[in-house]
């Protein structure tokens, strides 16, 4: 609250007309949306396999899925840059497809996805585990294939938990700064702009940008919360 009250109208208007700030907010939004999308695309099937199948190395995979939460984010940036720089094997490999991760939107997406995917996997895992297996069994004996059962029984019942995980992942991704400082400083995201203004010009310069970013983040958060409540099953 103090953040909003202590800002003058002039400062706020100035921030609104700051094109660099809007570009940074846009970059953050696109980066977080794409990273959440790819996180869901890979994390949901991964969580489903963990919840429904027993195999050797399952515990190790579960632990690996939680690793990004415990690794310091600057370290994540260093790990990713050593994996994806053009001199590395993967960097060389991706260069054939004209894909570079250093100071590009792809770098932002991969860094955001790395730090946020654990939230999707953990929530989806809880969601799938909470679905009674006997519902799936009955569905199969009523004539549904395993695929139909997944889409019409398992997935809808796990969806509220998955949405909660996706919101958390999106929030985590949009606020990422540590890994981005190392891997993809450009194009600048909103937290990078705030950090840069604070570092270069001090608190007064960072304040209007911060208000705008927090305001925008809150809007996104409440919109997502609204949709998640609509999907919460009766």
């Amino acid at each position: 609250m103090h953040l909003f009250i202590s800002l003058t109208v002039n400062e706020f208007i100035k921030a609104i007309y700051d094109r660099e700030v809007w570009q940074a907010i846009f970059t953050s939004f696109i980066g977080a949306s794409l990273s959440t999308f790819f996180g869901c695309l890979t994390g949901i099937p991964f969580a489903y396999i963990l919840s429904r199948y027993d195999f050797k190395g399952k515990k190790i995979l579960e632990s690996i899925a939680n690793l990004p939460v415990v690794i310091p984010h600057v370290a994540v940036g260093i790990i990713l840059i050593s994996l994806l720089s053009e001199k590395s094997f993967w960097g060389h490999f991706f260069s054939y497809f004209n894909l570079s991760f250093i100071d590009t939107i792809y770098g932002i997406v991969i860094a955001m996805a790395f730090v946020s995917i654990s939230y999707i996997i953990t929530s989806a895992l809880i969601g799938f585990e909470s679905v009674d297996r006997e519902l799936e069994m009955v569905s199969r004996t009523l004539g549904a294939t395993a695929f139909y059962t997944f889409w019409h029984i398992t997935f809808p019942l796990a969806l509220p938990a998955i949405i909660r995980g996706a919101i958390l992942a999106f929030a985590r991704a949009i606020s990422e700064v540590g890994a981005l400082l190392i891997l993809a400083y450009f194009p600048k995201t909103a937290p990078i702009i705030m950090y840069e203004r604070f570092e270069q010009y001090g608190l007064k310069a960072a304040h209007p940008v911060t208000v705008l970013v927090v305001f925008f983040s809150l809007i996104i958060f409440f919109v997502l919360l609204y949709f998640s409540k609509r999907h919460a099953f009766r």
Binding site: V138, S139, R140, T141, L142, A144, A146, Y148, T149, I153
Partner: protein, 240 residues
């Protein structure tokens, strides 16, 4: 005719099952907890795999088919009504899942006979225990299975409700041509409905035959206890 023959070894149980059930009959499997009753039903339905299991319907092997192709419906103790679907959506699920058009005559007949028209638009969590049981039975019948497997469906009900639902199960015997295997540990359900009785103990069938044949059988263990209860129940029912 349904023929079942399989062996399944678990860490604490060795199931060795072989029996035959006439078409459209109502059979009971009675047994103590841990005897392998539910496991037997799940293997028949194809929900648990068992190597070399032979499940034959009219002499044709169906044991290799996936659960959705066997036309064997399994109804567990908790009924497993889909909580995100209304009662009506639960009932017609079998048509949707098989991409078939809804057999309206059958659906209407079942809805009427099971007296569920009042709450078709409700969700399962807003139904009473007895209503849930009726919806689950209706959903199973609408699927027109060859065999209906009931896994202790009445175990959580009080005596009054149980007797009420037994009337619906009798309806199932009379009006719908379905072969039923009903698993329970309550001899009362069996004495009212059973045409054929199996007693399962430690994974083995220790008795099979008509319920009256049990009175002449020399049986020990759980079967002996069932026999004593049945004798007492018969005396009480005769008294009534």
């Amino acid at each position: 005719m349904l023929s079942v023959n399989f062996k399944k070894t678990l860490s604490n149980l060795c199931l060795d099952i072989a029996f035959e059930i006439p078409k459209y009959s109502y059979s009971f499997i009675l047994g103590p907890s841990g005897a392998g009753k539910s496991l037997t039903l799940k293997i028949i339905a194809g929900l648990i795999k068992s190597k070399n299991a032979s499940i034959k319907w009219d002499g044709k092997e169906i044991g290799k088919l996936p659960p959705e192709k066997r036309q064997i419906v399994y109804l567990p103790q908790n009924l497993a009504l889909f909580p995100h679907k209304t009662v009506y959506e639960n009932i017609i699920y079998t048509f949707k899942s098989r991409h078939l058009s809804i057999n309206k005559d059958l659906v209407e007949k079942v809805i009427e006979e099971f007296q569920i028209s009042r709450f078709l638009n409700r969700y399962p969590q807003n139904l009473s225990g007895g209503e849930k049981q009726r919806v689950a039975l209706a959903r199973a019948i609408v699927a027109q299975p060859r065999v209906l497997l009931l896994d202790e469906p009445l175990s959580s009900l009080d005596f009054h409700l149980k007797m009420h639902l037994i009337e619906f199960l009798e309806l199932l015997k009379k009006d719908f041509h379905i072969t039923v295997i009903h698993v329970t540990h309550d001899p009362l359900e069996a004495i009212k409905l059973a045409e054929k009785l199996f007693i399962l103990e430690k994974g083995k069938i220790v008795f099979q035959g008509h319920i009256n044949e049990l009175f002449q059988a020399e049986i020990t263990g759980f079967g002996q206890r069932i026999l004593e209860v049945l004798k007492r129940l018969k005396i009480s029912l005769n008294g009534i």
